[in-house]
Symmetry: C2
């Protein structure tokens, strides 16, 4: 699918990017884990981003949505432990103070900063402590700082998530790196998926936004753990051109290869997020084929992926195709019951809407695996759609039941 | 709200109705619990019904949707242990053979029968055993048979569900009785909410359908345990006029009182279903007020009621209004974050989209109760909507994880 090679280094793999973290003590709990991350381009860069479509948006989302319109972006400042969501005008003021503190520390303009928060909803940030911590940014930014930044944005994640890839464009080595934190939730009032990507490719702001939107659609928009979309979800991409390639143009083969590499980074991070979701024991791919339209395929896929009943039976290792049929039926996708075929890792479970002769024990073997694929052919047309999801476990409920 | 008095007797409380059950051995498990229920009107009756809108419909749903068009309906035959869903043309044939066997036993025409099934999806009915059992119908029908019929349709329900009410219309005592089985799910491939209601009111078929649709909209359509809509959900109402009231007319006060009594029966059964859902530990009412339209109110209410995250935290006794805000935000209802107020049993938790001063400990006391109400005022208009739901518990997951 693409010729990108995975390399170490995360967001600091691309040239002229640094990253790092500081400890501000945002969480009440007595911990010394760094809780503010920085990603910084040493030279001018352009930014692209996608933000939660939830109508309840955290303050940093609103501030970043404004700042990202600037022609030049230089850095991201992000904290864990507090989402700065449902915090009103004070929240907006605090998000701006984060950008101001970082701009001052790094000698930048406020609007050259993007800001993110993840953690508890509805509580004001301890902004003075944070400003003092942010002032230390120049001392912590380093060319090997990606992992430290990835760790500082972790909340319920059990491991940091980072990846980098290298491709050659116009004879120049171009790198794309990313860090992310999970959409799984554990603490009361926690939410949020964050992903920061850097690249040293030379690309216009406009084309970078197009590439970012496409990559997000193929990756982060295809994952669902519990169907709950957070107030803070954000993907940010910075491109600084340090690789020295000829600026990418839409329609070029080089641009396609850049897009594939960016998709690779986003898909890998999305998969890491799903696999590290709380209480997750199975990683399940839902493929819909033969739908009348892509929208129909998507409705069917999302209904299956978000059904608590299908997710519970995967946890139990029960194929239970009846629940898959049921979810397809109420999904609002246009279907004909008698057209539906369902496969578990290629083994046919349902033919023409009825039980196929594959022995139940064989289907159980598939669902016993930690990773499997359910393919549904609706035989209504030629559209398809794929989503990536998980089971629903007692551990998930225990993680999310609060205090 | 209405002047109906609750009385014993369930579906056999109204005059000239009998009910009963037989054992056919439908389930593989070694049990002698009766698994086929009958509800029978000794005199001509009219029928109304509402059926699942799932595009995957069980065979008995399709057969009943045809038969209910007949001007006269006399009886319902229903089995538990097998849903006769995803069973193709054989399933349709089997559902018809159920009506044929019952018609023969009771001296009726096939089209005067309605048929329902609940239980495992995708397995053929053991139709010969069932036909032999159905032949015993005349021997088991009795004027005190409601409870036995209610027991025969139980699957994962822990208790039978029945109710009857009495009102006086035009000086005549009119009764409405009902039995139901739950929407909760336990066995692999199980689904289905069934509700059978009888009344001795004199009412036209057309007006009975209108009254039934309205009552279902106020009751069964407002409950959600897991957001999964079954392939078999069915509500059937038979009215035989034995009370001798003047036939009800739309717009009359008597009709309004009948409607209220029917709503009372449906709401009581709906509540019994929710409270008996598997693994349920809390019964939660979600009230949306001040929405721009009723549709907006409904979207917001259903998003909160179906959020796995809100449901998990209710189980844990955690108010977690941040998750309620989050669900409202992604619900597609038109909202303004800064307009939203949220109350827990009348205590304000969120004012203008931000934390209100009510101590967290007070909100926790509310959510510690087995029943509580979350009220959301969107301050966008005058429309409202209410749904009834439950928490999501580790016991639910364990019940539904299959073998």
């Amino acid at each position: 699918m693409n010729s990108s090679i995975e390399i170490p280094g995360g967001v600091t793999a691309p040239q002229s990017f640094t990253a790092g973290s500081v400890y501000a003590g945002i969480k009440a709990a007595n911990t010394s884990k760094p809780d503010i991350a920085f990603v910084y381009s040493e030279i001018p860069a352009v930014a692209a981003g996608t933000f939660t479509t939830n109508k309840v948006k955290a303050a940093p989302v609103r501030v970043s949505q404004t700042n990202i319109r600037a022609s030049e972006t230089r850095a991201i400042v992000a904290n864990s432990g507090n989402a700065n969501a449902c915090t009103g005008v004070v929240g907006i003021e605090h998000a701006k103070r984060m950008t101001k503190a970082a701009a001052k520390a790094l000698g930048l303009k406020e609007k050259q900063l993007l800001v993110c928060s993840t953690g508890r909803i509805g509580v004001a940030l301890p902004i003075e402590k944070m400003e003092a911590a942010i002032a230390q940014a120049p001392q912590v930014l380093a060319h090997d700082g990606s992992l430290r930044a990835a760790q500082a944005i972790m909340t319920s994640d059990t491991k940091p998530k980072e990846i980098a890839v290298e491709i050659t464009l116009h004879g120049k080595k171009v790198r794309i790196g990313g860090i992310a934190k999970g959409a799984g939730m554990i603490d009361p009032n926690m939410a949020t998926m964050l992903c920061f990507i850097t690249t040293d490719a030379a690309i216009s702001k406009k084309l970078l936004q197009q590439a970012t939107s496409d990559a997000v659609e193929q990756s982060f928009n295809r994952i669902t753990i519990d169907g709950d979309m957070s107030t803070n979800d954000t993907v940010l991409v910075l491109a600084n051109g340090a690789a020295g390639n000829l600026p990418l143009q839409d329609g070029q083969r080089e641009f396609d290869r850049f897009q594939n590499a960016l998709n690779h980074v986003c898909c890998a991070l999305a998969r890491m997020i799903v696999e590290d979701g709380e209480g997750v024991s199975k990683y399940v791919t839902i493929q819909i084929r033969g739908a009348k339209t892509r929208q129909d395929a998507r409705k069917a896929a999302e209904a299956i992926a978000n059904s608590t009943l299908t997710k519970c039976c995967w946890f139990g290792g029960d194929p239970n195709w009846g629940r898959v049929m049921d979810a397809i039926g109420y999904s609002m996708a246009r279907i004909r019951e008698e057209n539906v075929d369902i496969y578990y890792d290629g083994l046919i479970a349902v033919k023409n809407g009825m039980a196929a002769p594959t022995p139940f024990s064989k289907l159980k073997e598939v669902v016993a695996n930690p990773r499997f694929t359910i393919t549904v052919d609706l035989h209504m047309g030629a559209a398809d759609y794929t989503v990536f999801t998980t089971d629903l476990t007692t551990a998930y409920v225990e993680f999310n039941m609060g205090e």
